[in-house]
Symmetry: C2
Subunit: 407 residues, 2 copies
Amino acid sequence: MIANPLPVRPANFSRRIDAAETSAVREILKVTEKPEIISFAGGLPAPEFFPKAEMAEAFSRAILEDGEKALQYSTTEGYAPLRNWIATRMQAKGMRAEADNILITSGSQQGLDLLAKVLVNTGDKILVERPTYLAALQTFSLFEANFITVASDDEGMDVDDAARQLRQNPDIKLIYLVANFQNPSGTTLSLERRQRLMALASQYGVRILEDDPYGELRYRGETIAPIKSLDEEGLVVYISTFSKTITPGLRVAWLVAEPTIYTKLSIAKQATDLHTNTVSQFAVHRYLTEHDADAHITKLCGVYGERCRVMLEALEAHFPAGVRWTKPEGGMFLWVELPAHLNTTKMLPDAINAKVAFVPGAPFFAPSLASVRPQNFMRLNFSNQTPERIALGIQKLAEVIAKNEQQ
Amino acid sequence: MIANPLPVRPANFSRRIDAAETSAVREILKVTEKPEIISFAGGLPAPEFFPKAEMAEAFSRAILEDGEKALQYSTTEGYAPLRNWIATRMQAKGMRAEADNILITSGSQQGLDLLAKVLVNTGDKILVERPTYLAALQTFSLFEANFITVASDDEGMDVDDAARQLRQNPDIKLIYLVANFQNPSGTTLSLERRQRLMALASQYGVRILEDDPYGELRYRGETIAPIKSLDEEGLVVYISTFSKTITPGLRVAWLVAEPTIYTKLSIAKQATDLHTNTVSQFAVHRYLTEHDADAHITKLCGVYGERCRVMLEALEAHFPAGVRWTKPEGGMFLWVELPAHLNTTKMLPDAINAKVAFVPGAPFFAPSLASVRPQNFMRLNFSNQTPERIALGIQKLAEVIAKNEQQ
């Protein structure tokens, strides 16, 4: 575009963006959009089940019947009928939430950005799991947070380790976690651990960010109460989204927060994007009130549960001894641990040659002085491939692993 | 919502949000949504001219025909056909922009947030006009910028003053301005000043953020080339939006940037909200390519130009001697200067009693050690009231001013 392609002098960017890690993996994974590649890499819902006819009607009627409001600037807090609907839904999960506690956000990613904006000064400590959601690490890193990491196992965050870290770092400002069907691991925090974590937060006066994009996508086992429902003091900010239950392209999500921090989050949101897309909020509300959203979620749970089961069976059938993986009760991902000498980042080009893709696990571990990032993990998504392609893809991936084992 | 309504201990927010100014005016202005009040306060386009039928069709067809993509997660950079369309439009304004230089943003407010994220460290200096866009001040304040302010007059930013400030503060990191039909003042930077400002930016190696939401809404006079079209070195980031030319509720806007900073802005956007609402991007692209968007803009210019003219005539007819106002050639606002002893913030409740509203001018002046905010200005919006109500509202407002003059 520019006559002189040299960077401007001085480049002169902010410290936060100069420190941002660029992702070579992201570039490699761009090829996974090709249809011939069986991709377990993305975190995409299955588009063949999007409620297209219903959403087309919801948008069309929102615009034709309410267009002067649905297409106009709107309040930062969000469309009041939608906030009411969400509050009722949150109450059904045991939270004492009214509409005034609900802030509509532009995807739940924005919830992370806003919470970081109102809480994090340079160098502030955030407690996260090993591994944790990659994009949360990216957001918190842009606010120059320091990460304190705690171990996790098949029941989610190791709360004993969290207690140790809080004792050693009583100035931890925030505990971040995905309690249901975690991204990337697929594990779920047990009720007993949720109770103990809430008690720790109360003891240390530290806030919790409970990120729950997948909670409604449970395929087996019993629903577990959200940490927010155990929160007597307003220490928990809960965030969730319609991205996984309706469709992601709408970018309509929400957070639940007590009044003091809610006001701060609203001020931050106003300065960030004024408000979330109005017409999508109207359309989502129409969809929720004029169609059977729960039946749609039940259908998705059937489809994704089957895909999960097929992936687990294929792993059992094809993956070599010495490989471990999680057995999720819901969500979209499972997490595979290869023998320690294998490196999944180095393995990825081989996999793509074999027409199968995954995300290497290393970036899901927070950058931290205390630990070197493990290289022998991979995240597998099971929501966006048919059962047939899942079975085939796992077989191919097993061959790639076997080949790398021999090298 | 919470059993114990006391704030959590410790409140423990970030420095940036603790320093954020809360707006008493914002609370007062909430009443202006009542239909009996003639509001010149907001910055709303006229909803009666929204292309409702066309947008309903665009959304419906985008979902029915392309729903598996239009409702899915998308790339951070934005929908490629829309970026192409915008690049062509930018080229027609004299910019050397390709699609790779276009980043779709969630409203142009997000452009401000992203640019601050990638440039501003705590204490960095940003040069702004007196007055300037309120929400830009809010965004930059959240990144703890320091403002260096320069005077402006009927031709926009006083470039001699800007040169002085740059000489005294060679570490200024960014020049922010609205060159066309400024918010709040309605003034337009002359071509000669644009050229001098670009030369200054080049001399000092400082970036310019050219915020151009209103450029297409010109009612009289000749179009002036954007500063970005004069940019040989990639120093200017240009932002604009479909909010004023199509509808604001879509939150679809864009920025134009050279590759080095573009990459940084994309990384920041990914951490901020992953990507902009996909379905709105598809619908906007359909609207732009299947309907006559330029004819719609021409119609809006006719309507708003008439409203502007009616407001100017009413000001001339009713406002007392000693009051000055700008004469915009486009956009949505004009700026009124009352005699120095009058205080528009104190006058606002009187106005609301008289069923007319405006925005007091004080918050449009950057907080700065060097100057006390003038209290005798008001911003008037003319796009969102009929000519009849504009004439009546200005008459009422004149009475409020006369009454305050006598006190």
